[in-house]
Symmetry: D3
Subunit: 246 residues, 6 copies
Amino acid sequence: MTDILRADGRTNDQLRPVTIERGWSAQAEGSALISFGRTKVLCTASFTNGVPRWMAGKGKGWVTAEYSMLPRSTNSRMDRESVRGKIGGRTHEISRLIGRSLRAVVDMKALGENTIVIDCDVLQADGGTRTAAITGAYVALADALEWGRTKKFIGQKAQPLIDSLSAVSVGIIDGEPMLDLEYTEDVRAETDMNVVVTGRGLFVEVQGTAEGAPFDRRELDSLLDLALAGAVNLTEFQKIALENRA
Amino acid sequence: MTDILRADGRTNDQLRPVTIERGWSAQAEGSALISFGRTKVLCTASFTNGVPRWMAGKGKGWVTAEYSMLPRSTNSRMDRESVRGKIGGRTHEISRLIGRSLRAVVDMKALGENTIVIDCDVLQADGGTRTAAITGAYVALADALEWGRTKKFIGQKAQPLIDSLSAVSVGIIDGEPMLDLEYTEDVRAETDMNVVVTGRGLFVEVQGTAEGAPFDRRELDSLLDLALAGAVNLTEFQKIALENRA
Amino acid sequence: MTDILRADGRTNDQLRPVTIERGWSAQAEGSALISFGRTKVLCTASFTNGVPRWMAGKGKGWVTAEYSMLPRSTNSRMDRESVRGKIGGRTHEISRLIGRSLRAVVDMKALGENTIVIDCDVLQADGGTRTAAITGAYVALADALEWGRTKKFIGQKAQPLIDSLSAVSVGIIDGEPMLDLEYTEDVRAETDMNVVVTGRGLFVEVQGTAEGAPFDRRELDSLLDLALAGAVNLTEFQKIALENRA
Amino acid sequence: MTDILRADGRTNDQLRPVTIERGWSAQAEGSALISFGRTKVLCTASFTNGVPRWMAGKGKGWVTAEYSMLPRSTNSRMDRESVRGKIGGRTHEISRLIGRSLRAVVDMKALGENTIVIDCDVLQADGGTRTAAITGAYVALADALEWGRTKKFIGQKAQPLIDSLSAVSVGIIDGEPMLDLEYTEDVRAETDMNVVVTGRGLFVEVQGTAEGAPFDRRELDSLLDLALAGAVNLTEFQKIALENRA
Amino acid sequence: MTDILRADGRTNDQLRPVTIERGWSAQAEGSALISFGRTKVLCTASFTNGVPRWMAGKGKGWVTAEYSMLPRSTNSRMDRESVRGKIGGRTHEISRLIGRSLRAVVDMKALGENTIVIDCDVLQADGGTRTAAITGAYVALADALEWGRTKKFIGQKAQPLIDSLSAVSVGIIDGEPMLDLEYTEDVRAETDMNVVVTGRGLFVEVQGTAEGAPFDRRELDSLLDLALAGAVNLTEFQKIALENRA
Amino acid sequence: MTDILRADGRTNDQLRPVTIERGWSAQAEGSALISFGRTKVLCTASFTNGVPRWMAGKGKGWVTAEYSMLPRSTNSRMDRESVRGKIGGRTHEISRLIGRSLRAVVDMKALGENTIVIDCDVLQADGGTRTAAITGAYVALADALEWGRTKKFIGQKAQPLIDSLSAVSVGIIDGEPMLDLEYTEDVRAETDMNVVVTGRGLFVEVQGTAEGAPFDRRELDSLLDLALAGAVNLTEFQKIALENRA
């Protein structure tokens, strides 16, 4: 495996620099400004006591997410979805992915009748925005849950967080599997995969797409190997960020 | 592996009855009414000479898809997206999946500056609508390409179809991997995966989701095994449907 | 009156072949796939116990309808109304016509506080889609009412159906009044009229439009004669379709 | 036939007081503020040289119409369609009726490549808004055509107006056919019909609807008789309004 | 100060002819058709007993406003906002301005739990539509409040109207401050200001905008002088219109 | 004048701490992350060579702006305007204000046929978001213009920037005029004014609103005094931020 392909000098199995500014927002119940290289996503978690009417009375909570990109988070300016009057398919798809992934590590019974809305707003995009969003959203979520416990909306013994959660992209470029693609790599990838993994190393989502040529079982396996290894590192960053919690 | 779990008496690795009524529409350039058990999807392919303005002059074609469900294709009536004035996230997501998957088996250069729009309208839904849609859409697409050749919009020697394409769902229910879930099974599945495979057995899309508990590598592998075997059968149904082509 | 004008060899006062597949849908409380020649409309009736809030407490039911065309039901593909984000005037107009017509043969007191939504989705269009829709919708409605009686949402002695209902188009082409226009005839018609008639031969709707030259009283009369005669035949087809009801 | 039914003392075959303020707008190329009793509609005709792109190069013009009600033109305030973000079915239907009716009396070849948009805004509604709109729109249209001739957008010898046009409502109340229903009558009518008639007494639109019981041929005939007689009077009012034209 | 600049011969500190037709609408609880020269705005006030749910139980009322222009109120026809499916920024801005201004002269406690919606529909536009709208809206509001008192929705001793309210535009053209700009003047103005003033001469809104060159303190002062003087006259017109109130 | 009123200990004529992180975005042609106390706004300027079609060929450029708030920039989460499918009146109003203000200091001839879109996204809101946005937008704009010059889209001698621009809020609380209101102050203010001022001290916008009681001329004057003094300070911060420009 030659590693000379990557613009920024990384090896194929190396993440970009990761930073997590926990508690970036003075207002949200949980928040994190996460960066994967130049990709920056502001994740906030809004905790509300109560659930939507259609869920009430079941003793269970709800977690949902919304993803969006600032119009000039990209190289050329995109129109705002609010101005166009509708949300695009990609935005919908990623919002659903983030919400579904987070719900996989939350015990809704333990959460009780509370709602958490996670907003992931991409301030700067350079590939991997959805994986950075999920990784940062977990930190915001953990703090919002802690806030709910402090405010007694969540029982003192309840354990709503089943596991931690991170996500990373992998892809095949010129036949080489690579971890955590930046935008210029993403564009060149023949196969592109986003993998959401729990802290214990179990899969929550595996989404692999042949952008160029279809891929075989062996390639799929090597991508999963890379992703699982990358997720171990991301979990470490999350632990450090959350370390000084009460 | 006990097979007594399935309501309709199928074994875990068995597809539901598949029928493909090729040429169902008197008007579309290609069409198929496909059924996977009670799931019925009408797939039409509309061929237009020319491409959208932003693609013109590159000598390449374009294939796209739209998926929709009739309001009473389901057990209880859903509101129409046209009445609500916006397309939901799930619809967007599946439309994008179908289009992306089909593009993976089309050589856009060989297609030339022509556009094919595939419409997949679910007339009756009982699980697996997106996989039935992709499997039927391939048949409609193949006929539309043939129509384009007959009309000389596509060169006589051009081979726009690189491979055939089918899709199938797999899932884990009570710990057992199962093929081609019907609705009641889908609801119970802990893990749910849609796999899009070419006739040569390569992956185009792998979308696995933990609906209940996260899944491990061994479970993932057994699901992929089931899906690949199911795809071989679907490819056979497609061949038969397309057999009497000129 | 020479009858050699019609492309398919029909006489001026002849319907196209009519088929009604009652119970096409495995899920709806009533359904019919109706065809007038190449025009095919899937009609489903969804029965819900209860009425919208603004109608509650009056002891009366509600019947409404929605009409839509699949994007490739026509010769060239139309954009979906869900994608355009709004419903066009023609769709609105026909939905309202169908709902209003059906309500004319339903005794809302006898229906009780129940709601029936009729969906008429045009799978293939070759003229007369609204008249086929009304004729098929009546069959779906009749079955949904029977279902409601079986489920005891409607009293055993209540007679919510006042009369049967069918609809047919008539028009003047080259000065000749003709029954049940197909698309190519519709385009050429100087005057175009849709007539909704009860089984007893009374008018529910008469909608005549001068597409070319205005029409006089004598022409109007001859069109009404044709329509009433055609409706007698349609009523017969409905009776046969509904014959084997419990 | 007893005539004591009507609240305002009219006989069954009598119109409400009609006034037409021609040229009400200082800006439009043609305009009329028409009243049928308390119903008041402001009709403006906007003349543009040229046609929409899809019509260009055919030497033909285009006439279209939009109908709308002010939010407090009615007894209780309605939400604005602009605020709700979509146009309702009734508005669509009436806009289409007005446009279609006016086109029936315009020779598009004689109009040449010019577009006329008629806006009918209901300032006060008391039944018959669509018929008042059509009757007033004709006056605005006639003036806009004259303006086009003055400006030489229309040839000096061209005769774009084939005939004059008016419209009136008729209905059956307690078994009695009545002309020009005001709102309280409209609500009580068993059958309701709008008839659009040319100055020569030919039909352009006949739209009869059974609001209560279906109607028979004899009732239909008596309604048409009333409508034709009413249209003669409306044509007279239009002539007077347009009298002092150059 | 030379006064020869103005097209209609007015002096710089002179209003256009003002007319107020109080009670123009037969249906609204209060109404006025106001004209400032060729600018004509129909203002209606709709009184409803009760307040929106989020305000209930506080013993306070609510006043809001909507502004809109008819499509051909202007020199060239504008698209309807209902057809475009969204309300433009200017419309939003003016609706908010009118509502906010009126609320400044209403004592919400004295109004009690009642809602008044003011609709200001511009029938003809020649500059100053928002100031005419506010001035006319006050008259409609006053009558609606009186209606509410007559109907006992407002207490007999309650004084919901704190003060009267009028508005006027001022601007600088070729260095000259001028009152009540008509459209052609508005276009030429370097600075444009709308001032909303109570009958006692206090400011409710001051909105000054440099359309051309920024303006200095002295210019601002001279514009405010003109506006305050103009408002005194408008207050007089309102008093006359409201004079014969019970 | 007692200064003990303000929560953060400021005097009435004191700004909150101001920071400007110029060049925050790696992608935009100009950018600034500005903070007025806890209020944080990310301003990016997107430079495009060329103008919208309707402006082409006049040798003039265009500057426009869009303002938006992240859903959790506020104390309680707001729905996204993209999700609601429409932009609210307040957003429209502020976007228009920012664009109009910036255009007042740009010589469109000197800009040439180039377009600059300024996006102001509020990351955290604590009062004064629109004034912070304008103040930061000026810095982003200045850099984007410099970028355009470097890329030769703007002539080397052209001076598109006529003056600098800043904005500040002022208000009256308990009778005391105060500068730069934070959210809790804004809520209490009787009168609220936003003032946009050039570096030379001329007014571009003056928007004063009586939230509680109407205000008199003397109060207006004292607010303008405060605003002009505050703007001098803001101009100083802008100069420092832009100091190290080539």
